[in-house]
């Protein structure tokens, strides 16, 4: 269910790394928790962030979730189509629902992220607490 080639965070973001560019989005679990997404607040292209900084928000009717960047880098691109039609993030969170592309400043942070299996286990634990 969670694509194997992605890395995951505890705040339910995923990142796909390809040639120094990190593509970031929210997971299937996150979009399901949020419900229908109505608004996206995404950062400006060119802005530089450190890992774990808040870069934007994902808003649904019943909740607002902060979006955190798992890795440090400079914003190269944001998904304008998703901003126009936030529903894309619900429909295809791992694909067309991507949110930000970062020019990564280092490749040393990847080790802190979770694998698909570790993330699935993490979600299972969270669900148990509810």
């Amino acid at each position: 269910m969670n694509p194997e080639d992605l890395h995951y965070t505890q705040s339910h973001e995923w990142v796909w790394i390809d040639g120094g560019i990190g593509t970031i989005g929210i997971t299937e679990y996150a979009q399901k928790q949020l419900g229908e997404i109505v608004y996206l607040e995404l950062p400006e292209v060119g802005h530089i962030y450190n890992a774990d900084e808040e870069v934007g928000t994902v808003e649904s009717v019943k909740a607002v979730s902060e979006l955190f960047t798992p890795l440090s880098g400079e914003v190269a691109e944001v998904n304008k189509a998703a901003v126009e039609e936030p529903g894309i993030v619900n429909d295809d969170p791992f694909g067309d629902g991507w949110l930000i592309r970062l020019k990564l400043s280092t490749d040393e942070e990847i080790g802190k992220l979770m694998s698909a299996e570790e993330y699935a286990e993490y979600v299972r634990e969270e669900e148990k607490e509810k």
Binding site: G35, V38, E59
Partner: protein, 503 residues
């Protein structure tokens, strides 16, 4: 243990039946859409002084394009019809947990409209406003007696503003010792205004996880209570309706570390007249006149959020306070150097003071009956629905009870759907999705002003809906069926914001 309802009472007329009796469409255009050129709904006396316009044209506006042109008849029709699209407490049970939707006595409406209250001005000379000041002073004294605390301010406009006032007073007191501290502790079951208010007082919020009973975990709390903590904000009883019976221990721990115990008094209806917060070690507490003290909710406000404090916090009360002189006259005291200042204009939501005082006067020393009735009614509903709906926390509850949709979720039905289906049965839904620690919450607070037939009808309706969830869930999932509008597209509203009419 399953309970047989004692009487078979007819369910209230369903909205669908009303539609057959009133065939006109249950829809009303906007007042702007009723507008038409040349219609008027007002009359003014002719000007008895020279017509003057001494403001330069550059500072003046053109006509207010788009504003209405409409007759009084149309205004009467419009607002009467709109009102009939609303459900109010006068219609049937409105069991919104945490809101205390009790009956609003009509005599209080008349009292509030007396000219000395409705048409008086707080900036008139004090000596001609003695009646108004006496009312404020009297209500404050009465609330002191009910809370067992030393002083009260009536200035805050609502509970949330009262919370802010309370935490600001704590901060002011701590600042006097040289250290305002950094954090406020708040249970995860608290109402959202608690952390929001603490934040606006300049504090960081640390959330305390409730224990398996749904109450404060004393060990978790004791560890968290350091000298960096300014206050613990506790709702008493908590938002599950459970009284923190370790309250005296909690107070002891807070005070031992030099902190303050703040009580969110939204649930005061459960013990007013029976127990006193001042005896529990509570230092500061806000109340809601629109909850415990019957002032009407009016579609979302106005409210009033008085705050009671110990003698120690009294110097920090908002400015001005109402004082009584030795000769029995009343005055406003602005000379309060340690005051937190003011949080709004004038003295507060005065019109609500009149109503609240009239309400309390009607009960007098028998006001404990309010709490007794509230607690009895809520426990009766609890008994009637236990086993039918899932009760996450088993502890004894007072004036409200929080069920969850866990049993019904097995059939794909959630609390929202149950709430919508209740409308078809002629009731307003309970609070859903709060407190956050109960997933799929249904928070029910009947208040003391509901009689047994009304409670039985509600229980019966909830049981039938539970049955529907098992046997024919689509009818619940597609509810409501008989209301003026069906399920509203809230996602569409947020994605495509239309916040006003355009000419």
């Amino acid at each position: 243990m399953s309970i047989e309802v004692e009487e078979k009472t007819p369910a209230p007329a369903r909205a669908g039946e009303r539609d057959r009796l009133h065939p006109e469409p249950r829809r009303e255009p906007l007042v702007f859409e009723r507008s038409g050129r040349g219609k008027t709904g007002y009359s003014l006396p002719p000007l008895d002084v020279p017509e003057t316009l001494a403001i330069p044209k550059a500072l003046r506006r053109e006509a207010i394009e788009g504003e209405t042109e409409i007759s009084e008849v149309e205004v009467a029709r419009h607002f009467t019809r709109l009102s009939r699209l609303n459900f109010g407490n006068d219609e049937a049970l409105y069991p919104l947990g945490s809101c205390t939707m009790k009956h609003n006595p009509r005599t209080n409406e008349e009292m509030a409209r007396l000219p000395g209250f409705a048409a008086s001005h707080p900036l008139a000379p004090e000596e001609v406003s003695q009646g108004a000041l006496e009312l404020v002073w009297t209500l404050e004294k009465v609330l002191c007696e009910l809370t067992g605390l030393a002083r009260v301010t009536l200035q805050p406009a609502a509970g949330a503003q009262g919370e802010l006032a309370g935490i600001l007073m704590v901060r002011a007191a701590l600042e006097k010792t040289g250290n305002p501290r950094k954090t406020v502790l708040i249970p995860d079951s608290a109402h959202g205004t608690n952390p929001a208010s603490a934040h606006f007082a300049g504090y960081k919020v640390q959330e305390l996880k409730s224990n398996v009973r749904g109450t404060l975990d004393l060990h978790v709390f004791e560890e968290a209570m350091t000298e960096d903590v300014a206050a613990l904000m506790l709702t008493v009883p908590n938002t599950l309706g459970i009284f923190e019976d370790q309250i005296l221990d909690i107070a002891r721990i807070v005070h031992a570390k030099g902190g303050y115990l703040y009580c969110d008094g939204a649930n005061f209806n459960s013990f007013v007249g029976i127990a006193k917060p001042g005896l529990m070690g509570i230092d500061v507490m806000h109340m809601n006149l629109h909850k415990t003290f019957s002032t009407p909710h009016g579609g979302g406000g106005p409210g009033a959020g008085p705050v009671a404090v110990t003698e120690r916090l009294a110097p920090h009360l908002p400015r001005p306070t109402v004082e009584r002189r030795a000769d029995g006259t009343f005055t406003l005291d602005f000379d309060r150097p340690d005051s937190i200042g003011r949080l709004r204009t004038f003295l507060g939501n005065y019109g609500m003071f009149v109503r609240a005082l009239a309400y309390i006067a009607a009960y007098g020393n028998r006001i404990g009956e309010v709490a007794r009735g509230a607690v009895l009614n809520a426990n009766y509903i609890r008994a009637g629905l236990t086993g039918v709906y899932h009760l996450k926390y088993d502890a004894p509850t007072l004036h409200e009870v929080v069920f969850s949709d866990k049993k019904q979720a097995a059939h794909g039905v959630h609390n929202t759907d149950i709430a919508k289906r209740l409308m078809d049965y002629g009731f307003h839904p309970p609070t859903i999705s709060f407190p956050l620690i109960v997933r799929g919450a249904l928070m029910i607070e009947p208040t003391e002003t509901e009689g047994k037939p009304g409670l039985d009808a509600f229980i019966q309706a909830m049981r039938e809906i539970a049955r529907e969830c098992e046997e024919s869930p689509e009818i619940v999932l597609n509810a409501p069926h008989t209301t003026p509008v069906k399920r509203v597209d809230e996602v569409g509203a947020a994605r495509n914001l239309i916040l006003r009419w355009r000419p």
